[in-house]
Point group: C2
Chain length 587, copies 2
Amino acid sequence: MSQIFLKNIGLNGVTKGDKMAKRVVIVGAVALGPKVACRLRRLDPEAEITVVDRDNLISYGGCGIPYYVGGDIADIEGLYSTSSHVVRDPEFFRACKGVKIIPSVEATGINRQEKKLDVRYLADGKTETLEYDKLVIATGATPFRPPIPGANLPMVFTVSNLHNAQEIKEKIADGQVGKAVVIGAGAIGIEMAEALTDLWGVETTIIEMADQVLPAALGKNMSKVVENQLEKNGVKIILSERVERINSDEASRVTSVETSSGTMDCDMVVMSAGVRPNTQFAADSGLAVGRSGALLVDRCMKTTDPHIYAGGDCVELRNLVSGENMTMPLGSLANRQGRIIANNIHGRASQFKGTVGTFCIKVFDMGVATAGLTSAQATANGFDPVHAIVSQPDRAHFYPSAQLMFIKLIADRKTRKILGIEAVGGQGDAIKARVDAIAPLFQVGLDVDDVCVLETGYAPPFASAMDIINNAGNALDNILENLNKPIDVIDFVEKFKNDEIRVLDVRDTIEAEPFVEKYPDRWLNIPQSELRERLNDVSREEPICLVCGTGARSYECQTIFIQNGFTNTINIQGGHAMIRIIDPEFI
Amino acid sequence: MSQIFLKNIGLNGVTKGDKMAKRVVIVGAVALGPKVACRLRRLDPEAEITVVDRDNLISYGGCGIPYYVGGDIADIEGLYSTSSHVVRDPEFFRACKGVKIIPSVEATGINRQEKKLDVRYLADGKTETLEYDKLVIATGATPFRPPIPGANLPMVFTVSNLHNAQEIKEKIADGQVGKAVVIGAGAIGIEMAEALTDLWGVETTIIEMADQVLPAALGKNMSKVVENQLEKNGVKIILSERVERINSDEASRVTSVETSSGTMDCDMVVMSAGVRPNTQFAADSGLAVGRSGALLVDRCMKTTDPHIYAGGDCVELRNLVSGENMTMPLGSLANRQGRIIANNIHGRASQFKGTVGTFCIKVFDMGVATAGLTSAQATANGFDPVHAIVSQPDRAHFYPSAQLMFIKLIADRKTRKILGIEAVGGQGDAIKARVDAIAPLFQVGLDVDDVCVLETGYAPPFASAMDIINNAGNALDNILENLNKPIDVIDFVEKFKNDEIRVLDVRDTIEAEPFVEKYPDRWLNIPQSELRERLNDVSREEPICLVCGTGARSYECQTIFIQNGFTNTINIQGGHAMIRIIDPEFI
């Protein structure tokens, strides 16, 4: 690689005007585009690198928009400045990076035969044709605006660029927004709802057509935790409904939204109903796109044209767990791909194999992280998913700052390969740490036994001796081996409320008492320490759910029941800790 | 596995009195021993399980001792209670776990031929012989007490069990300790020094015979960061010295310690000079031990006797990076091994492959985490280590709670395989997250390119779009490709102080000015944005170090120099951020 490099820069260091210089045109200057350009310049001083972008603001951290709206970032320039507070504008890229960026220019078509890109200057409509040796498509994606009446009213926003971010913040700061509706409970919808509620006290409602928040990332049990967290912090949530119309007054001011079940007053609507890749001009030139409309690329990020690369939000990536293609619009993946593309253009065969779908989000003071497939996605992909849910402190239970953490770990029943993980808890870095510790292993075929012995850093201020991630593996192993016969809290609560199931609480009497008093016929109590002597107090007939603080002792008790021939016990996964966070009103 | 299980518990659930019941004797009841016993009971209701321990206190979190001494944990019972505040004593194990633990009993010998363990009751000296089908050795390790005059004085402590933990705390609380000396700057020494200083205001000095703290875990550059952190918080550090004698007065009270270079007053000495495995009785029976004196075990944790298992601090583990055996006395590994041993005794071939040496420690408000080999260890193991050091915020630089993090990533030059990682920073969970994200991959042969594209969770409150772990990979790739020619800060500072090197500061003039004023002949300033036009201001002759805020821009500038034929530039890894943390007095 160093030899290639030395050859390309020439022996005498003179670089300009070499007629062999490679012409590289990059369409898009937000995340991946500038990364390709700058890396390539560092590899190749001769290349003629031109980046064009529709927008006049470039190289910004779009994922920071909710934190700008919510006030964590005071000044919008923070989102397009370097860590040393230099604005990343075309002059910065010219002077510091040796890269030419032309803003406010739109790509309109590709003549692949002649290797030419047609562009149009948005200021005056002039068109031009740029010749390329290599073309990079980094056009990203555009938020989807559901085609409903009122979708184009002035106070209906998407979260797509810094201009509308600024406009949203101005309207709120102006006092124009008392109530807002967010359409869609994906990551951006939730982050925007937090921003509106937390800083500005806007009465915010999220309306989601699925029956849970974060449907692409979480199973129902964990999504319920996030829903409670949002509601506890003042965000209203309406699930399983669609917004059918946005109403306005005679001055075109938003007044309300209508769903199938009613009307809700609001002054602003934020649409966060997913994104669509910006690939029309590329697809028109005959480049192959996938079902999502995003471009198909190989592991070198090359499209179906060997002279055209693409990456970021406008391509499909291979999901390394399911093997299927997916889009994964994240600035982090775009940046990593950018370096890969530059390497390949320069002649080094770097690869980007795909994604395991690692995802994280802050929801007020809670952290949520996931990777791989949800149980539903696993089933849809032909797996037979089995899961464990564990509750455990995120550090040694005796360490003062310990907080409860909840992990759902999913494996395929037959192969025992890990398919997914979902984690929530109060200390976000610790949540992310657990998911990051196993997600990169999904692609090498991590199985349940590997998780049981997974080695992660241990000291009481950071972890338990048997960390929650290992215990999640242990619990899943026990479930697969039929030593632990579990029920999820969300299913337990439903059954219990429908009077379909009894409970045996194996905690100490003082802890179980309030429940026993409230449900004298259906909530029994035998402390774990007495269970071996009192097995005959428990019927062998009808099903009975075992519960303790976290699901660990109730599992231990279940092994005693099973060893004594009981076939009717079911262990509540995550115990009272999980019940409290899933259904705080349970008692 | 479930079939084996069903067979073993019998079809009718009747389990007691079966004459085929397996007799399992476990020596040691701190971490691994109880884990084996409890797991085995859950797998096998029939087994006769007996655990013996020398101590009267059992099943405690020894790693929590410094936090008990330092006051984070008020009550010592916290260290041997469950998370639901039940004391883990023999009665608890009997009633809740179905396991018999006999405290205050010492193992004295093994008759392997007849499968018998000789024990002695410490209370009355009575002896007994326990027959076993399977024996488990979980005897742990004992702190090494260097054989120097005064080593056995009453105020000279090791940190080995709850009794001396309690005694240390009582002496301090009594006001008997104004000054303390800690011998050894490993993890326990540092944690104890923090405990003494932080809560009690004891004037504490650590004396270490190596030339750095944490010599087994960190390279010199990073160890300097930890030394500064300790000193900033009031702990005095003396390196490259041995304590040769501990002096006392006529009442046997400790008065001072003597080293080769002088005498230091103190009232208490804490010895934390490593541990020695408790394996004498086992070795005497002919079981094979390694160079460390710890027992040799296979992947099933079986010793050289097929009926004897061992695990925890008294065995050698395979280091999965070097391939060599090592001891790794950590409660976390012991617990994971405990489950493996129980599985194997029960007939399921579970494996524990070894360790990558993951380690973490809190040092006041700083987190330190490492895995794999240090550069010195890598060299000693026949590798040719190359490393990168990067400074970067631990979350998006525009996110308000972002703090700087420092990572050293080490790879083998020829194979590009990752050999080690060291990380330090202000937010410990975030530090641990980075190390945990790559350490489990060491054993599958992670290389530098894998780290460049490593997928970890991204959202601005938790990470940068190009996370520091990826940038560590990128930097190391650039170094291996000769695009980045680096120098460590610690080496730079030495050369600069010896007047051997000049600096080109590529930050803005206002930032560089104080340095330029102080060293007008040796500290040049050309802001990055002007460099392409001002290359001729820089001599091509003598070596010049490039510096910026973090090492990123100075690397970019170095590529410009190299592309223009300069061969004399050296990039200061980690930039001013690293200089400030390595040598806060530099300017």
